[in-house]
Symmetry: C2
Subunit: 83 residues, 2 copies
DNA sequence: AATCATTATGATCTATATCCGATAAATATG
DNA sequence: CATATTTATCGGATATAGATCATAATGATT
């Protein structure tokens, strides 16, 4: 349910997975988040220099959110991330 | 334990609180995250255009991490955030 | 294989982050 | 208060995001 996001690539993967789960293409996600398809593409491929506000807009459009917590708590979701 | 981070200001507050809890000043956090004191200042005051990699570097230095999850789950941590 | 949909890439432009060096403003501490 | 520490701000330089318009590359579907 909760996905670890320690680097831009993980964030990109999570965004892509959530988008496809909703049956949206990058253009549609762009419309809902006020961004262009090209920008969504960059984020999903793990652009490390993306702006924070851009990431937050994408997460909002997907009805997702960040939480900040201490590292390495050895939860179930950590294991998923290995694969 | 887990803090909601829906906007840059919340992230800045969380960073500042974690830094002070460790007894560090902005310069020290900058050294540990490879950033300048000015940059830490901007992040803590909620700069929305901060780079993703910059935020991730700061969180890493504080031994914190992002998790991504569905919004509004009405957890205890949501209540804290009102104050 | 041919076509349609989707995603990735390219060049140009404007805006702004971050670095760097310096300093002003604000906050502690004696 | 006076001073030392910490945080915020300024100017110049460099790098790159994201918009825009266009197109190439990739993936599906028949």
């Amino acid at each position: 349910m909760a996905d670890l996001a320690r680097d831009p690539k993980q964030i990109g993967n999570i965004v892509q997975r959530a988008r496809k789960k909703l049956g949206w293409n990058q253009t549609q996600l762009g419309e809902k988040s006020g961004l262009r398809q090209e920008t969504i593409s960059l984020i999903e491929t793990g652009n490390p220099a993306a702006k924070l506000e851009t990431i937050l807009a994408v997460l909002g459009a997907l009805d997702l959110e960040f939480q900040i917590m201490p590292r390495s708590k050895g939860q179930a979701s950590d294991i998923e991330d290995i694969f």
